[in-house]
Symmetry: none
Subunit: 294 residues, 2 copies
Amino acid sequence: MECVPNFSEGRDKAKIEKIADAFRGKTSVKLLDYSADADHNRMVVTVVGEPQALKNAVLEAIGIAVKTIDLTKHEGQHPRMGAVDVVPFIPIREVTMEEAIALSKEVAQEAAERYGLPMFLYEKAASGPGRENLSVIRKGEFEGLAEKMQKPEWKPDFGPAQPHPTAGATVIGARMPLVAYNVNLNTDNLEIADKISKVVRHIGGGLRFCKAMGVELTDRGIVQVSMNLTDYTKTSIYRAHELVRIEAARWGVTIAGSEVIGLVPMQALVDVAEYYLGIENFSPAQVLESNLME
Amino acid sequence: MECVPNFSEGRDKAKIEKIADAFRGKTSVKLLDYSADADHNRMVVTVVGEPQALKNAVLEAIGIAVKTIDLTKHEGQHPRMGAVDVVPFIPIREVTMEEAIALSKEVAQEAAERYGLPMFLYEKAASGPGRENLSVIRKGEFEGLAEKMQKPEWKPDFGPAQPHPTAGATVIGARMPLVAYNVNLNTDNLEIADKISKVVRHIGGGLRFCKAMGVELTDRGIVQVSMNLTDYTKTSIYRAHELVRIEAARWGVTIAGSEVIGLVPMQALVDVAEYYLGIENFSPAQVLESNLME
């Protein structure tokens, strides 16, 4: 099982390491990657493990984040409503989506009890169709959470009916592997990145499995279209990339480069190579490493 | 470590299976592929494994081939000078070229002792600059070997100074993984594919690790530039592709598509994706599968 928890701390190295420590030196748990972004003020951890061992490590990390991160003093470009903002479990290799859903509910219940944290189930673990989408649950962010949770339809799935005073609330669930892909633009005009984001993403009439928003990279003086591709088998990286390029051209803007954040399934990159080279009849079994893993 | 031994038997199914059996059911050794060609009268095995386990399996296969293949009665279209014709070791994942060279020398020494087989080191394991190239060592083939080996400059690196009576001699060493990459052109004019091949390949002033030739695809009515990229880390697929495209444009010809033949290391395709998307700061460790394999 894989888990990619997002914590609302991207600047304080000591806190970042403390959270990462929860995934280190544990039997049957492997910390694959963690990266913190100061502009986003957010940390993304990628960890794999046996379900029960992974559950314990995630609960430990949630405890540390709830204790050390104070959302009343938090600012960053990435939307967030909790110290532990979102905790997706992702079935990989020999575990099913059903097991990922069950595990997310176990962690949600336990975290609510231990830390007094409201927990909202989302995606495949959602308790109803109106609660599948992360951005819908998170709308209003931490600052609007107390008011939002007064509405009966925003009662959490586990935990208290009001936000944790400093840690807000957490969205948790199960989903397919996600590709976090950002395209950097040769402009410092955030409005252009926003406009492009709005048309390439699903809700704006764009690609079915694409979420997008404009982000400012202040240290570089440029902006980016920051995307989450929620099913790379249907909305591939190259298609999102080319669509951003086409839309950017409309504003006289070119692509400066791009970033893949965190882990990416091999096939998502192989699809890119196949497209640009026009490779005919390629089989994933031709990748040397795919043979080594069987 | 990967090994792609070539054996001079492409017709007798029983002998072919007996050689393949040396790579089956062994701990830490995996037979990825083997194919026999009756015209070439030759068998190519692709096998990966932990270095020491792989060494033992390769030595066993060499023993079987020396015992069962009689070069005095062998004919086929492919040049050959031994029952075990050529044995390249290829470093993949976490092993270095130095380890591949060392392993090839261990196998060479042991095979010479066990089977009385002269062994010539080639490519990265070669004992001198005149002995790097397979076709130079193999020139004269099995039939000319006894006379060739009388010359002091053709003393083998290990084993007796004359050919094994029925198994000849073996070329063994270490090389980089090879990528077989063909670019199809929207023309039936073989002359254009030949002209492009001659300028993109190393000997014609082209890319350092590129061999190329024009090939006719008669059933499709098109031609292709058929390439071997002998070091994809230095001559990448996209560079070869783009160079063919540029040269084809000179003749008013466009690219119809391309083909990857056989196995390709994951990194060779990741490099392509990185280039076309302009991905910044990508680490191979970000590929999910590379983490799961450790």
